[in-house]
Amino acid sequence: MAFDVATLRKEFPTLSRELEGHRLVYLDSAASSQTPVRVLDAMDHYYRWSRSNVHRGVYPLAEEATDLYEGARSSLARFVDADPRGVVFTKNATEACNLVAYSWVRREMHPGEAILTTVMEHHANHVPFTHAANERGLEVRHIPLTSDGQLDLEAAGELLADGRVTFAAIGHVSNVLGTINDVATIADMVRSANPDAMVQVDGAQAVPHLAVSFRDLGVDFYAVTGHKMLGPTGIGALLADPDRLESMEPFLTGGDMIRDVTLEGATWNDVPQKFEAGTPMIAEAAGLAAAVDVLTELGMDAVREHEVALTTRLLDALDAMPSIEVHGPRDPQVRGGAVSFAVDGVHPHDVGAMLGSRGVCVRVGHHCTKPLMRSLGVNATVRASVYVYNDADDLPPLIDGIEAAQAFFAR
């Protein structure tokens, strides 16, 4: 069931702004999404009405705060079809990846073992694991891309053949190419080659745009971020099997994550609190729960349908320009709404400046994917990304701005 974008847009105060005398055209949701009033209100309500710390207070106000925080955990768990005890709140997806790198990779992997990842990873799902690999003497193997920006699964099979891959870190949706990776199939391949291998997935670009079931994907760790799914900055989550988390050593230590503390040491709280040291992001959790409510009301199937339709129009419009080269898959069914491209003869920074001067917000640069940029043979790209509040009216200003940049910077 489709939703009405014009009505939805009214919930986003920023979208009503004008920039440089132009209607604000926000095409950078892959970097961070806009925030609806309901999310702002939820955070405001906590600070104005239920403000207190979680978990330890015995007075009713503290119980309210705890209910807000733990309720948000349950909301997110339902949204991504995970066990709430396996939802660890983190400050973002990067921290979730680091939790895995410190509490799993550094502790459980040994020289001679290998990590399988891809050349399209965001630095968040790349640097924590290469850093750990360098410290632990682990090999890192990279699944290459096919010519249309998908993972070469045949090559992946060869990389897995010797059975030495005991950990895989794969992005669910590429923030640059838009490619939706078949992580369930890759997880099966990884475990067929080595039944003890663990699979970690970066879902930062997936959860905002696709119906994700952590249980159905059958992976071990899954990183989520709030600020790309209509939620506030400063909150994300790691999804994992609670028993797996139980077996792992903590990542950050301190208050709230302990069961008992002596002068000599400590024992750990139950999961997921064992992985949540210190006072957590309570207002942000409340905001994230409100964001989950908004997305649930829209329906993730409708969100996906809306984005496929808009991405199709965006790709068609870019394809009609002879001097544009789109990176990544052309079939909207196998990709998300982040579309990267090169404008012949104009540097991405200059394209971005021209678009910015016309109120059009796009991302230019390497998008935290330097290995992918090298693989594409570019230093940077222009990236336009669409989300629930974008509509067809957002596309002409983009296309006109690109044409203006080409005219302005013609040599």
Binding site: E20, P348, D350, A353, G365, M373, N379, F409
Partner: protein, 155 residues
Amino acid sequence: MSMEDLYQEIILDHYRKPHNQAPTLEDEDVHVHHSNPLCGDEMDLRIRVADGRLDGLVFDGEGCSISQASASAMSDVVIGRELPDALDLAEEFRRMMHGDEPTRADDLLDAVAFQGVAKFPVRVKCALLGWMAMKDAIESHQRGATAHTVTHDEE
């Protein structure tokens, strides 16, 4: 922001027809490679020193119009100057990028046109890329080194 504030005609001229842009320099003394992690821009810069002066300088690489034009304007400013003088002008340009009025505006030639870039913080690093590469090349030469690679996290 207006496109004209940032992209003055003088800047676009240097961008369209850069001066001293070349992949090699005969009898080069120092080669530096600088990159800007923010935008992924890369620059190779080569210098030749004779009698304490910058006898030759070329740059080459991938970059936005601001970085390429600024390097071009910089080359006109410093070629032929004594090394300490070139370093002084690099400092002068750096201060200008942080909003200071230049005290040697006449010596900065076309590089003065970049004064407006100071209003665009994310582009300051673009304008500084060539200048900082030149400064590094001279300092490398003064240390007796012949090659150097730098990634600018903070200039």
